[in-house]
Symmetry: C2
DNA sequence: CGCCGATATGCAGGCGAGTCAATGCTGCTG
DNA sequence: CAGCAGCATTGACTCGCCTGCATATCGGCG
């Protein structure tokens, strides 16, 4: 399979109703739930954390299996889910596959959750 | 079973390592994943949205089954999960059970996800 | 005090998710 | 070019979760 299009990208542009104001639609709820589901796993949260705190902000699979205590296929599986959710990006250099965080992806999710009340400090969205 | 103690409450006080900086511990990852798992469901997202946008910011089960298109036991089940996750609070008045959002619960989750970089605008927590 | 309405709980079926072992694929390296 | 190392994919197993039906519980009303 080749990459079905980063659920986050679909929701970051067309403003998905954040968890505030009007009741959200079914489709919006399902898309937001989809991205949250990608986050809602201990192994994947640790993967994001590990990658982000890695030397260059990037890491390859072989660096991640040990700290997680999971098999290489399993780690690869989780990385795939995070990538398809739009949270990670993959770059293959030689034999290694380097993963890094998509810059504003997680912040976008946080913004979708946070009610608009009192958010004067930030750029007006 | 009677209410095992609002996973969010356990993580909001003792500063759970947010998804930034140091690699997060297994226990932290599991607790954060637990709360996110409560959020990562279309029906529950819609419940939160419906309750929040209800007249007094509160709603009883009988008002929620119809818009969701789910049976009453199922709605009750989801409300229970959200309550145990620390996202909702329940108040029983007469025959009805009114649910409302725990004020800063969702914002707390958003803060745990957002990296600390460039968060000058907000109060220094 | 007995019935009815609003919720909560138990139980069961079905589907999706996490994990690993085995295997295939690709690009280095000797 | 033959062998090896790093990753991805497949298949199978298990477990947890969403949902509905049936039932128990609790409060109000006639």
């Amino acid at each position: 399979m080749e990459y079905v299009g980063t659920a986050l990208a679909e929701m970051t542009m067309p403003q998905i109703s954040p968890l505030a104001g009007e009741p959200i639609e079914r489709a919006d709820a399902e898309r937001l739930a989809g991205v949250l589901k990608a986050l809602a796993d201990p192994a994947r949260l640790r993967l994001l954390s590990l990658i982000q705190s890695a030397p260059e902000g990037e890491a390859c699979v072989c660096d991640l299996t040990a700290p997680l205590g999971l098999s290489q296929p399993t780690v690869s599986h989780h990385l795939r889910i995070l990538t398809e959710a739009g949270l990670l990006e993959r770059e293959k250099r030689g034999v290694w596959a380097y993963y890094r965080l998509v810059p504003t992806a997680i912040a976008t999710i946080a913004d979708l959750l946070t009610p608009p009340r009192k958010r004067a400090g930030k750029k007006a969205r």
